[in-house]
Symmetry: C2
Subunit: 549 residues, 2 copies
């Protein structure tokens, strides 16, 4: 494997650890915990793992001898920068506990456990992947660990390899499932601990005890680098509006963080659109008004950040999509017989008047996409809609109307971008390299202490790594009951952008100035070797959240 | 203006200069030069600036006193990383020559000279822009300086400000025009020198004396960073083929350099397609065969780099577009009367049989684009064609055919990317920061020596900056006669990718291995503060070209 110069130089980076994890560790247990909501139901579903205390680790002078540990690790779901460092931290932690400890990696996600595909992770392998991006060390996958059959099948290989503890690195769903697995193995006395690690670039797995999910920092910094470059271009050429869509379907944390880092003219926050019950036309008008106001000052250029999930947060669009799904499920055969050129009118004539009007207002391409391209379950594929183009097209139309009314004089030309894959597998920033390594290392300490049903937790992350607080949070503590696919299920609450939290409030206090003036900030590429104020900063979201507390 | 931490830290970077420029400078002149071709015509067109010697500067112990110089500077054409450093180098060089020297910047490109829009560039302004990307210090523009009226209008403000020398920073066309201007001002004894600087991210302004144009290094490194990230994702998720289009319409240097840096599975080089007279179907088949070969080994993923200008290099497409332009010019009115659903057939029935067949083979969207969207001159807008989607769609169809013939078993899912604006205004790499600063500094030395019609030249650039050779090349030396818009004109030869040069030959020797195996390299983000092998490397193109000499 040929390596780049940076990869070679970066391999020797030793991630920073919290003080408590550097030598001997003592454990401090808090009082029993409750779930965030639906306490009775959650307790009933998790009789063996409910109510456990929050744990923190502290430095200790007492030397303890631990037996060797054999552990397994799984990467679950979409890639996030730093996954390899979680595994490296876990490996180093296990070896520090007892040099005869072993670590197995299950291949291509949870499927590896069920199908008994694994490798032993030796120091040679680990060293190849330290501080690198990607999940290619053992691969990842989206199989969900949900059924007792899967749990039992997994247990076979766990027993065969002598594994005492399983570490599952994943998002909210994967960690929920990790807890169900922990509960099950405890119930049947399998003698297998299960520990989770909070991963997702989307940033929507966070709460009081989990300040941030890993990968969010790096991904946002990569996106902000290229957004900054585009803004510099925008401000040099002064002739385009750049519509930039950012990955993250269920929450707008990425768009918000990138806005805080780069100060674009416009950033749409899905959660706000939903809370204010804005229509697509409201969003378009909001953008068009800013374009017109800038044009009035001679500035026919600007930048717009758009979260990938926007369409599904617009209440009226959600209703339209629901009716379309229903309608096409019932009338799909008749619809298929209609001439392509007549399909649009057919739908307009058959939907409820409210949804019909919205459908009629959509650009032709999007309307066709909504009625034709359906997934195997018959649902329209919202993710295929190129929201950045949809918005710029509708803004263009709105501006043409405004021009004819004398409310706009200017030129409007748009460029489109979508950033997602560009950042999910970037090599981790120092923050993510340190944070991930600490999460993995913490997981090893939780294993040594015999814990199960915990998520590895590293807090106080706006301070230098030295002062970070390592410990464990019972996964049940983060749960509530939610309806999923028609059934009430225990799940970890998804953290959406909250409009009364400090990051959004700061953004909202600045956005009118950013819209009117040109206040672009150019963060530049992630740096690994420079001064600490350049290389070791957490996200602005984290800093504002910490200040807001 | 709020600055990022990196921007603040980077402001104090002192670009490295060639030894010869660090103190007193002596000038060494070579023998008279000839243009690369059409010597008699070029000599006739440039009687006052033809045949001048190549100049190099050398360190000197002799202290000379120069009078203060007043100079003007213009940024011309598309942005390229490092433009601000050319201006900073020019400014510092002028001040080193005589502290009372002055520099004016003309605003928004050559138009600023004609329209008399300018600012004085003081040290406060220069310091704000050192080592930053973009052209926003004075803006750029695409007005061409071509007519005597423009030259005379410019001369008014030049005389008014007491400017003795004009530095024009631009691509091949802008430097050609700079030379025409130099010739004119010399002819009329205006007493105004004109010096050019070689700028373009496309890398197509290079020759024996100009090793590389500035900005190419940084832009390619930014693109390679994100391509590398995508490749790491590709190799982790193992489920997508990523089709990545790269900016650069007239030459494939960017795609080639990015391929050398990242080792993708496939990279199309337009110049090869043209030279081998490949059809669109040939290109599609080439890609589909590699997709199928990888699928046969269980690898349903990969990366394809595509140069933006590909379509115009495919001889058959070029012919089709030419006939379409002609046909629609003549039959536009009749065509406009035809029902939209019949237009495709109408064109198929009216083109020559060869072009008709090609047109019929195009995906519907592209066919529509080629017949409907025309620019104000009535030409089809090739640049609007999303080549990356066109190719992936056609590859998908080809694979479906191959599947039905039992020649392919696999899954094909594609993702699309286009990188251009992401890199044009990135902050310059150390290489570009040093190279640009040296180019600007060299320009000041050429001015001090009374030269005109020269391009600033810095060579030996694969060695440490200390050993770079600074000097000047007569612009006429790089010229030949070419037909442009129906007229023979003197122009600087555009440097396309040459199939017998070292960079392409190395790529060609490796590509079969890269196609079959997964040999991705992950260059990571540009680093400014780390070890020299990470921070100070030139492009691989430059290194291979130097080795190939």
């Amino acid at each position: 494997m040929k390596k780049s110069a940076l990869q070679i130089a970066r391999a020797s980076y030793q991630p920073k650890l919290p003080k408590a994890l550097k030598g001997q560790v003592s454990i401090k247990e808090g009082t029993p915990t409750e779930s965030v909501a639906d306490q009775a139901e959650i307790k009933k579903l998790f009789p063996n793992t409910y109510g456990m205390p929050v744990i923190s680790f502290e430095p200790s002078n007492e030397s303890k001898n631990y037996p060797a540990i054999t552990a397994g690790v799984i990467l679950s779901g979409g890639q996030a920068p730093g996954g390899h460092n979680v595994i490296a931290g876990l490996f180093d932690g296990l070896k520090a506990i007892n040099k005869n400890s072993k670590l197995y990696g299950f291949l291509l996600g949870p499927a590896g456990l069920i199908e008994h595909n694994y490798i032993e992770l030796t120091s040679d392998i680990i060293d190849e992947y330290r501080n690198t991006g990607g999940f290619d060390i053992i691969g990842s996958g989206r199989t969900k660990l949900e059924t007792v059959e899967q749990f039992d099948k997994g247990l076979e290989i766990i027993k065969q390899l002598g594994i005492q503890a399983l570490v599952i690195i994943g998002g909210d769903d994967s960690n929920t499932n990790a807890c169900v697995l922990a509960e099950y193995y405890k119930k049947i006395n399998a003698g297998v601990q299960v520990i989770g690690c909070p991963k997702t670039i989307d940033g929507d797995l966070k709460n009081e005890m989990i300040e941030t999910s890993f990968g969010f920092d790096t991904a946002c910094k990569v996106y902000s680098e290229v957004i900054g470059n585009i803004q510099r271009d925008c401000n040099s050429a002064k002739k385009y509006w750049h519509f930039i869509k950012l990955m993250g379907r269920s929450a707008s944390h990425i768009a918000l963080e990138c806005a805080l880092q780069t100060q674009p003219n416009i950033c749409i926050i899905s959660e706000e659109v939903e809370e204010k019950n804005m229509s697509l036309d409201n969003v378009v008008t909001y953008i068009a008004d800013i374009v017109a106001a800038r044009a009035a000052e001679g500035n026919n250029f600007g930048t717009v950040l758009i979260p990938e999930g926007l369409i599904e947060f617009i209440p009226a669009m959600k209703k339209l999509i629901a009716e379309l799904n229903d309608f096409l499920a019932k009338n799909g055969n008749e619809f298929a017989m209609i001439k392509k050129s007549e399909q649009r009118n057919y739908i307009i004539n058959h939907l409820s008047s409210e949804n019909s009007a919205i459908y009629a207002s959509l650009p032709e391409g999007v309307a066709r996409q909504l009625s034709l391209d359906r997934d195997p379950h018959g649902n329209v594929q919202v993710s295929l809609i190129e929201t950045e183009k949809l918005l710029s097209e509708m803004v263009g139309k709105k501006l043409a109307e405004m021009k004819s009314e004398g409310k706009y004089t200017g030129k409007f030309a748009a460029q489109h971008h979508f950033f997602g894959y560009e950042g999910r597998c970037a090599a981790p920033s120092n923050f993510d390299a340190d944070y991930c390594y600490s999460l993995g290392y913490t997981a090893s300490a939780l294993i040594a202490e015999g814990k199960t049903g915990y998520m590895s937790s590293v807090r106080n992350t706006t301070k230098p790594a030295e002062e970070w607080i390592a410990g464990g949070v019972p996964v049940t503590m983060m749960m509530n009951m939610e309806r999923r696919h028609g059934e009430m299920k225990p799940v970890i609450q998804k953290a959406l952008v909250k409009l009364d939290d400090a990051p959004f409030k700061y953004f909202a206090s600045q956005r009118e100035i950013w819209a009117k003036d040109t206040c672009y900030v150019y963060p530049g590429p992630i740096q690994y070797f420079g001064p600490t104020e350049v290389c070791d900063q957490p996200t602005i979201t984290l800093v504002l959240e910490a200040q807001g507390k």
